[in-house]
């Protein structure tokens, strides 16, 4: 009776075997237990033995072939037996040379692993441990117990507007209960209308980053960067911005500056365009006190002096030194103070009181060739002026196309403090003063 010789399962995990060597040839007589072949498994080289005795009638695979476990690889039988049916019926399926395919697969898996490893880490959101304990609406991550979150949702309360008394400012059951007891959602809505309003978006979630790729670099945020991030998020979130743009003819202003500098050359003071812009802004603010103001919960606070912040780019960020009472200072003094402040800002030598408490800010990106842009208000200021470059542009004057030195400015306004018309009126003054510097002294 013919017996099949199959690729034996020689280990529990073996799925295929490679024929290393036939130990017999067709026609050989074998007895039970004789070694027929040496096979390379996933673990070791092992022998396939004859389960019965007989004559080797067929050897169906060649040395080096890799076949699945259970595949027919040979036939034992009587010397004169017809085994053609067995032989023809089951041509072994070659699963191929494993070595050839391996490198590619390996490469892919390495790639996948890289992506997986770098992804979550890079995308991990910052956990801001600082908490807001005041009554102002909080932004960023709001800590809240699961129960408090559910209670607030059920009561229609905005969790961001509830002060947390738990560890790290966590809003807990008792906080929500107090808010409910105090009148719940209605009270909260009223508070919002009268000035305690929280931003629509309580949190500014960090968008998930794309998985890190080769060449990407993760730079930990400096404290300054973190503060900028927090301040600006506080602004663009809760502060309802609107923007006004105008284009100013700078010809006369620049001429004036030139003349001034010639006169001041002996004193060593040099007036820059920025100084001019600061001075003009301060004057305009003096005439439009509704712009020189801040939103303070349930009131608009108008400021008694125009303290102008000048946005200064420094490595890893920007800082805004303040020229105090610019409305009461002459151009030369402004120029002297600003020059000192800016230099110390670049050297990180400013004291906190020198870069906080402005009532209005100016950000000038003209030196970078920017024509116009919008700036984000630095709260609690109510406006910021974004200044583009002064460039020669064709202008129609009295039906003629002429070339003029023009500068575009865009003022971002806090709508809670400034309305469109008041903002426009201010800009009108500002423009007029620059286009006709005599206005400055009128």
């Amino acid at each position: 009776m013919a017996t099949k010789v199959v690729m034996a399962q020689l280990s529990p995990t073996m799925e295929e075997g490679k024929l290393v060597e036939w130990k017999v040839k067709e026609g050989d007589e074998v007895s039970q237990g004789d070694v027929l072949a040496e096979v390379e498994t996933d673990k070791a080289n092992m022998d396939i033995e004859a389960m019965t005795g007989g004559t080797v009638r067929a050897l169906l695979i060649s040395e080096g072939d890799v076949v699945e476990v259970g595949a027919l690889i040979g036939v034992l039988g009587d010397p004169d037996e017809d085994v053609s049916e067995l032989v023809d019926g089951a041509k072994p399926k070659d699963v191929g040379e494993a070595e050839e395919e391996e490198p590619e697969a390996e490469e892919e898996s390495v790639k996948a692993e890289d992506g997986e490893e770098a992804g979550p880490e890079a995308a991990e959101p910052e956990d801001d441990a600082e908490t807001t304990t005041g009554t102002k609406p909080r932004t960023g991550r709001v800590k809240v117990s699961p129960l408090a979150r559910r209670m607030a949702e059920d009561a229609g309360l905005d969790i961001a507007r509830i002060e947390g008394s738990g560890p790290g400012g966590r809003v807990v059951k008792s906080d929500v209960q107090a808010a409910i007891d105090a009148g719940g959602a209605e009270a909260q809505a009223e508070a919002g209308a009268s000035g305690q309003a929280a931003p629509e978006r309580a949190a500014a979630p960090t968008a998930a980053l794309r998985p890190a790729r080769l060449g990407d670099e993760r730079i930990e945020a400096s404290q300054m960067r973190k503060t900028i991030a927090k301040r600006l998020v506080q602004s663009i979130g809760p502060v309802p911005h609107f923007f006004l743009t105008t284009e100013i003819d700078m010809g006369r202003a620049l001429d004036l500056r030139k003349a001034l500098n010639e006169r001041l050359s002996a004193s060593g003071v040099k007036v820059g365009v920025n100084d001019l812009l600061v001075k003009v802004a301060a004057e305009a603010l003096a005439r439009h006190p509704e712009i020189n103001a801040s939103w303070d919960e349930d009131a608009v606070q108008r400021h008694g002096s125009a303290d102008i912040g000048i946005a200064v780019a420094v490595p890893d960020g920007l800082i805004t030194p303040v020229v105090r009472e610019a409305d009461r200072k002459g151009l030369a003094q402004i120029a002297t103070e600003a020059s000192d402040l800016i230099e110390r800002a670049r050297n990180r030598k400013l004291k906190p009181e020198e870069y906080t408490g402005a009532t209005f800010s100016i950000s000038n990106l003209g030196m970078f060739g920017i024509d116009e842009f919008t700036a984000i208000i630095n709260p609690p200021e109510a406006a910021i002026l974004a200044v583009g470059q002064t460039a020669e542009r064709p202008v129609v004057e009295g039906g003629e196309i002429v070339v003029r030195r023009r500068m575009r400015v865009t003022m971002s306004c806090d709508h809670r403090v400034i309305d469109g018309a008041t903002g426009a009126a201010f800009l009108q003054t500002y423009r007029a003063m620059l286009e006709n510097p005599l206005e400055l002294v009128s």
Partner: protein, 327 residues
């Protein structure tokens, strides 16, 4: 209601069940002539004879295995370990044989057996004799694990364990044996897998079992008297299967939980309870669940160090105040 000790309650359960079912027998070291190392089996040898109250050699793997074989043959053995520390020698029998027999025989051989004895620390027995075995067994599918904390529960649960058709690991406490409590005079059976509210309260749930029931009870008194916190005590009684429904119901009411166990913190029973709470009661939590357990160290011999290592009512009070945001 009579007031008896935990020890007497266990003795009563053994006697009642041996009278009720002649297939029930007790074996272990010192259970017969000596009346039990902790006198739990007092008087039983005289009453039932040596084939039903069998003194064994000190060979835990051997006599635990013998019990399992007898259970496969239809008897209902109660294997007493002098303490659960010694049962580590029988861990193979309990885990590989008792817990697996029904499963690997395709449902043919169940193993109705009780393994019982004291677990946890007593007084100054140091590292090898003070261990809490609860999680070692609660981890094993096929076993049931009971750990009663009062005389009435000891009586009622042991009776259920003896009547159960599966292997039951029954963990007592040396320091519990003298605890007194009211026990019903009539037949008293406590079902396996049902927790018990030992004290009602609205502010925080204290989850516990075995010796920690007393610790939590003391803590609850302090919380009420000195901190105006009303604690609810959930005594698990059985730790596999765990009656998590009762725990969840309580947490939904109090919104806070402190899970207390005598054993080590790492992979302890409390870890399982906390997992269940966060999964099934997440939206009801007002604070992260706190755990109180032994320190993560072997038991020290010196009394002050031992006391420091073990969980105390004071620690439970602190944890409860913490989850109530009182600190």
């Amino acid at each position: 209601m009579a007031v008896i000790t935990y020890r007497e309650a266990l003795n009563r359960a053994l006697r009642e069940e041996m009278n009720r079912d002649e297939n029930v027998f007790l074996l272990g070291e010192e259970v017969g002539e000596y009346d039990g190392a902790y006198k739990v089996s007092k008087g039983l040898l005289d009453e039932f004879g040596e084939w039903r109250v069998r003194d064994t050699p000190i060979a835990e793997n051997g006599f635990a295995g013998l019990g399992i074989g007898a259970a496969m043959a239809g008897l209902r053995p109660i294997v007493e370990f002098m303490t659960w520390n010694f049962a580590l020698l029988a861990y193979d029998a309990i885990v590989n044989s008792a817990a697996k027999m029904l499963y690997m025989s395709g449902g043919q051989y169940n193993v109705p057996i009780v393994f019982r004895g004291p677990g946890g620390a007593a007084l100054q027995l140091s590292a090898q004799h003070s261990q809490v075995p609860d999680p070692w067994y609660a981890n094993i599918p096929g076993l049931k694990v009971c750990a009663p904390g009062t005389p009435a529960d000891a009586l009622g649960l042991l009776k259920s364990a003896i009547r159960d058709d599966d292997p039951v690991v029954f963990i007592e406490g040396e320091l519990l044996y003298n605890m007194k409590g009211e026990v019903p005079d009539e037949e008293h059976v406590v079902p396996i897998g049902v927790a018990d509210i030992k004290r009602e309260g609205a502010d925080v749930t204290l989850v516990c079992h075995s010796k920690m029931v007393k610790v939590c009870s003391d803590a609850a008194d302090t919380l009420a008297d000195e901190h105006e916190v009303e604690a609810e005590i959930v005594d698990l009684r059985t730790i596999r299967p765990l009656d998590i429904d009762t725990v969840i119901e309580s947490v939904k009411k109090t919104n806070r939980a402190v899970v207390v166990q005598e054993g080590w913190p790492y992979s302890g029973i409390g870890a399982q309870v906390v997992d269940d709470i966060q999964r099934e009661a997440f939206d009801y939590l007002d604070a992260p669940v706190a755990r109180v357990s032994s320190l993560d160290v072997p038991m020290h011999y010196a009394r002050p160090v031992e006391k420091h290592i073990l969980p105390s009512a004071d620690a439970v009070v602190k944890a409860a105040r913490h989850v109530c945001y009182l600190d």
